[in-house]
């Protein structure tokens, strides 16, 4: 009888094993925020939100929600910040970052940053004295476009692009306001196009041999040319199979008189219904002299899907020059006039012109109207 009871108890225990939840050991240090002493931003407060640890099979899942309040302790306004997020279990193969673009934080002012993440690690993972996840400053960009930080994630370039886009869009909106072109302003800030919704897509970056059994087809890449771009896309091609794009390649020419040190190529994907999605931009470091031509190839495979998870059938690929960095450190981004001249498609034009700053200002305009927008533009300009 006793052995039977033991067997029943053991079997029930095995059956209930997957239901076991809540890690018993929550005493370890999960997240550490470490800023260098000379950092121009320092945490004023650090609050761990509803952080939980759950067992899932042979893994422990940590839901970490950190709310930071940072203060500009420097003597210059900060207009962008990148925080690097590193988990010891993934290091050095995977990491994350949280970027705050379009800031205008004066010395002494404070601003909030939230870091929400989920870490899944094997239960058998080695324990260490340091925190499982570390958050630190990677780059801070000042209003004079000088930067602070180790910049391990090439954040300075990204923050500079965001800041230049922000300045472009502020000037454009200020011009619309000053000249009383309010219908254009309304249209720009998403009140003119009734059915406009942000075009979302799902993305997967893959490495290694092809997974799909579908036959690959060579697809020509159409260039979207900005008239005044210092680097012009000439032609390109990619291997496409279903919703996968492999090794997209584009020929570019430096049409300026300056030496180029990097080019960020933007990619637009057209689905089988003719809808265009801006898939993003990839910066490729390269040295191109004036009037020289070179080829840019993206390694690996990209897999696209709709937000619902349904694979997106790729019918077309387009490319454009998102930004160019010259050897002297200066940066070029397309102007509003360049974007307007590049395409007649209003939706695509909007996709190309939408910047983080425009997104932020649109929120202010919808909440506080024209007066709120004027006030904000006056504050940051």
């Amino acid at each position: 009888m006793a052995s039977k009871l033991r067997f029943i108890f053991g079997a029930a225990l095995v059956a209930l094993l997957p239901w076991a939840a809540r890690a018993a050991d929550d005493s370890g240090k999960w997240l550490a925020v470490q800023f260098p002493r000379d950092s121009p931003v320092l945490p004023v407060s650090f609050n761990m939100g509803p952080t939980t640890a759950t067992m899932r099979g042979a893994s422990m899942v940590l839901d970490l929600h950190a709310a930071l309040v940072l203060r500009n302790v420097g003597d210059k306004p900060i207009c962008g910040l990148t925080l690097r997020v590193e988990a010891q279990d993934l290091s050095p193969y995977g990491k994350g970052s949280v970027i705050k673009p379009s800031l205008f934080v004066l010395p002494g002012e404070e601003f909030p940053v939230k870091v929400d993440m989920q870490l899944r690690r094997p239960i058998a993972a080695a324990k260490s004295e340091s925190a499982i996840v570390q958050v630190t400053v990677d780059c801070a960009l000042f209003s004079d476009l000088k930067a602070y930080g180790p910049d391990k994630l090439n954040s300075k370039h990204a923050l500079m692009v965001y800041e230049m886009q922000a300045r472009r869009d502020r000037q454009y909106l200020a011009r619309l306001l000053d000249s009383g072109r309010l219908p254009e302003l309304r249209e720009e800030l998403n009140f003119g196009i009734q059915d406009f919704i942000p075009r979302q897509l799902g993305l997967e970056l893959l490495r290694g041999p092809r997974a799909t059994a579908l036959r690959e087809q060579a697809l020509a890449v159409s260039p979207v040319a900005f008239p005044k771009a210092p680097v012009q896309p000439l032609s390109g091609a990619a291997q496409v199979a279903g919703n996968e794009v492999r090794a997209p390649r584009v020929e570019v020419r430096n049409t300026s008189k300056m030496k180029v040190s990097s080019v960020a190529m933007g990619w637009i994907v057209r689905d089988d219904r003719g809808t265009d999605f801006v898939a993003g931009a990839v910066t490729a470091p390269m040295q191109i002299g004036p009037v020289q031509t070179t080829s840019i190839t993206e390694p690996g495979t990209l897999r696209f899907s709709l937000p619902t998870g349904q694979p997106m059938v790729i019918e077309g690929l387009m490319t454009f020059v998102n930004d160019v960095e010259f050897a002297d450190g200066s940066l070029w981004i397309p102007s509003r006039a360049d974007i307007d001249a590049a395409t007649q498609d209003l939706a695509l034009r909007r996709e190309l012109a939408t910047s983080p700053e425009e997104q932020r200002l649109a929120k202010i305009y919808r909440r506080d109207g024209t007066s709120g927008l004027k006030k904000e533009l006056k504050r940051v300009n």
């Binding site: 079997a11 029930a12 095995v14 059956a15 209930l16 997957p18 239901w19 939840a21 067992m55 899932r56 099979g57 893994s59 997020v85 279990d89 993934l90 193969y93 995977g94 990491k95 994350g96 970052s97 949280v98 970027i99 705050k100 379009s102 601003f111 909030p112 929400d116 993440m117 989920q118 899944r120 690690r121 094997p122 994630l153 965001y162 942000p198 979302q200 897509l201 799902g202 993305l203 997967e204 970056l205 893959l206 490495r207 290694g208 092809r210 990619w267 801006v278 898939a279 993003g280 931009a281 910066t283 390694p299 690996g300 990209l302 983080p356 700053e357 997104q359 932020r360 202010i364 909440r367």
Partner: protein, 206 residues
């Protein structure tokens, strides 16, 4: 150092041992003692003798009783019939009991399996299941190892990077616009409803 005093089995144990009624372990232990202990061996023998004597006595009494039965054949038929009915009934009951036990055990096992599967499906991530399945298939030679995998992927919850058996997801709201930001990085952009500020999360893989 002092020698352990010899502990003899009790009379009841020896009696049961002599009749072969002890449980296996106790029987072996008692047997080992009896083979080495003359006194206990003698005791067991005496129990067996008494038992044999009693049997013999009983047998003789029964035979005496049988002699008194006049219609032996009729009684024999009657008894055999009763025995057959009894045996058939016990077999029938035995089958019913076995079937019920079997069904109960099967139901219990199925319940436990369902509970386990429910727990597995609800709690174990699909990629873990896939990994275990793949490992099993590789172990039995059904699948060749392939160096192919997702480096970074967007999900409704956020952007995920996997490496070294662990994964990191930088969470974002569902309204976030996802795009690629490098050869092995994916980005999500969204405006925070509370602060009105724009946040961009990036996840990098290798």
């Amino acid at each position: 150092m002092s020698a352990n005093p010899v502990r003899h089995p009790s009379a009841e144990i020896l009696s049961l041992y002599s009749a072969g009624d002890l449980p296996l372990l106790l029987r072996l232990r008692t047997g080992r003692h009896v083979r080495c202990c003359a006194a206990c061996e003698q005791q067991v023998l005496s129990f067996r003798l008494v038992k044999t004597e009693l049997r013999r006595e009983a047998s003789s009494q029964i035979l005496t009783g049988f002699e008194a039965i006049a219609d032996w054949h009729a009684l024999e038929s009657d008894m055999l019939g009763n025995i057959r009915v009894g045996v058939a009934a016990s077999r029938c009951i035995e089958k019913v009991g076995h079937t019920r036990k079997f069904v109960l055990r099967l139901a219990w096992a199925a319940g436990m399996a369902a509970l386990f599967m429910g727990g597995w499906l609800a709690r174990i991530p699909a990629e873990d299941s896939q990994r275990i399945l793949t490992a099993l298939r590789k172990a039995v030679g059904l699948e060749q190892p392939q160096f192919y995998g997702t480096i970074v992927r967007s999900t409704p919850e956020g952007i995920v990077v996997r490496a070294q058996g662990a994964s990191l997801t930088i969470l974002n709201p569902q309204s976030a616009v996802v795009s690629m930001s490098g050869p092995s990085s994916v980005t999500a952009r969204y405006a925070d409803d509370d602060s009105g500020q724009v946040t961009i999360t990036n996840v990098y893989g290798q």
